[in-house]
Every structure is written in C-alpha cells, then in structure tokens.
Symmetry: C2
Subunit: 184 residues, 2 copies
C-alpha cells in the first residue's frame, strides 16, 4: 500500500505540511500514523472536489493562444473535456484540422446550451472579450477563464470568472524584483 506524508506532499506542491494537513482534513480522513493512503486520498479528493464528473469546456477565439490550448491534447482522462471551439473568422474555422467541432462565434449561445458546456475559455482580442463573455453566459456557462487583457464585467454574478494575462504576470514579477532591489 502506497503512502505519502504531508511533508512530502507539501514539498511537491511547494507549500508547507501544515497547509496540506489542514486542506485534506477538510475533505475527510485519509491518513494515519504512517501518512496518507494514496488510493484513499485520491478517492477523497475526487469525491470532495467533484472530479468524479467530467465537465465540458469550450474555447472562444482560435488565434495563436486559443489554438495552442485547443491542441494541447484536450486534457485526456482529466476532469475537463474541450467540447467545442469558436471563432468569428469563418475562413479560420475551415482551415483548421482537429477532432473538436468548430463553430462561428455567433453560435456560441446555441451550442453551449445544446451541448451543456459549463466552462468557457476566452482567447479573443481585448475588444471582443466582453461580448464573448456575454454570449458564453447567455448559453449558460458557469465559469469563465479569460485570457484577454480586459477585466470581464460580470453581468451574471453566479458565474465564476478568472482573469489571466501574461503581461500582467510578468509585470507582477517585475514589481517583486523591483521591490527587492529597493530593499537592498
């Protein structure tokens, strides 16, 4: 039987053993004085976090970033399945070769609703990000991961939105470096 200690798990994840124990204990009991039972722990996490279901996601915007994500293997065997791609440029849709069904952007509400897609990934230019978000929400998504360098104004407060932008992350690092330099 395989086991792992909170210390070892923390090492792998880059956090302390305290946090590991606290977080796991919230889900139930999976360990004893020999550490955590890996099989039991996996089950506990799967159940507790809802990873026993596979949720469908779609990608809106098939530019460089969007197609990079689309082609990243679609996360096989994971908790997420990419079920559709959208772009406003019809030509781009036609020249694309993938197993994932592609549609024009205006169809977002229809397809999202029809296929019960729950998560949306926004990789369109900043100018069309808000419209894209609204179409996704209209279709009924419950969560949005936004890569466009704009903060999405959430019209439906029960939809979770996470904003991520590469440049902002680099700026953040730059600020940390700068603060450190000034402290020296």
């Amino acid at each position: 039987m395989y086991t792992a200690s909170s210390f070892r798990l923390g090492e792998i994840m880059g956090i302390t053993s305290h946090t590991i124990r606290k977080d796991i204990s919230r889900l139930g009991q999976a360990g004893d004085e020999n550490g955590y039972n890996i099989g039991l722990l996996k089950e506990l996490i799967k159940k507790g976090l809802g990873f026993d279901k596979v949720r469908k996601a779609c990608i809106a915007g098939l530019g460089r970033l969007g197609s990079a994500i689309l082609n990243s293997g679609s996360f096989p065997g994971q908790q997420i399945r990419i079920a559709a791609g959208f772009d406003s440029n019809i030509n781009r849709l036609e020249t694309f070769s993938t197993d994932i069904p592609l549609f024009p952007a205006v169809k977002i509400p229809d397809i999202v609703r029809r296929d019960a897609i729950e998560l949306g990934i926004i990789t369109v230019p900043a100018a069309s990000a808000q419209l894209t978000a609204e179409r996704l929400i209209e279709g009924g998504v419950k969560g949005i991961l936004n890569f466009a360098p704009v903060v999405i104004q959430n019209t439906a407060p029960d939809v979770f939105i996470r904003n991520f932008h590469v440049l902002d992350e680099l700026r953040m690092l730059s600020v940390l470096v700068n603060m450190k330099e000034e402290a020296e």
Copy 2:
C-alpha cells in the same frame, strides 16, 4: 485635466473603491476631493512600481504556447521586452521567422547572462521544466513565469517563481461550480 474616482477605477478593475484607495495611498498622494489626477497617478505608479525601467524577458520552449507568447507583439511600449527565445530542437529554431533572436536551449545560461535578461518564461514540456528553470537561474534571472504543469523547485530562494497551468485553472473553476451546486 483628467480625473477618475476610486469608485470608477474599482469598477474597471473589478475590485472595491476601498482597495483602490488603500493601494494607491501606499504609493503617495495623487488625488483630492475631485478624484485622482490621472497624469499624476500614472507617474506615481510608474515610479512606485519600477515601471520606468524596461526589463528583458526570454521564452524557453517554442512550442505552440511559447510561440504564441513570442508572437504576441512583444508587448510594445510596455515594461517588459522579449529579448530572446530558446528551444532544444534546432530545426524548430531554423524554421521560425521572427525579429527576436533565437538560441538552442543549452545556451540559456550564457545568453541570459550576456544580455542581462531578468525574467524567464517556461513553456517547455513538464519533463524538462526543472532543468530549464535551473538554466535560467544559472544565467541570473530574477523571476520565472512557469507554464509547465510542474511546480518548480526553487534552488535559489531569491528568485520569484509564479506557476500557471491552464488545466489547473479550469479545475479550480470546476471546483467552484461544484461547491456551488452542492450548496444548493
């Protein structure tokens, strides 16, 4: 003279006016009873956060994601400049057309040091992420943005590391959706 209130700024950024005021006040004074003086505020942020310097960054791993970032216009006029790209596949380097100088991965330490590159973006496969990080650190980078689905073990504690992975973000959204469903 253009002004903006903390309420309006918070609206744009999706946070409260309290946080805006608190954060800005840390940098100095930029407003009065008419709101913030935009020009003054920009100056204050630029100085306070070190955005008056441009820091160089490099991209290690020119697969789909890496080349998407490389080609994203190199953030013109921003606080960050992409100054080099690296890949372990020599063929890939040769077939690439870009203004940004490209080098084989083994040269990372040399080039980073030579060109005083301060930030590194890791877009290599998981298996080579740790090695890539070590090469970047060897060259002297001060911050790393890691897209590989592995937590980088930081051998140099004075280097800032931010881990980001698309699938994890989607999983996070999935968990939020799941918790909400269970609460209902």
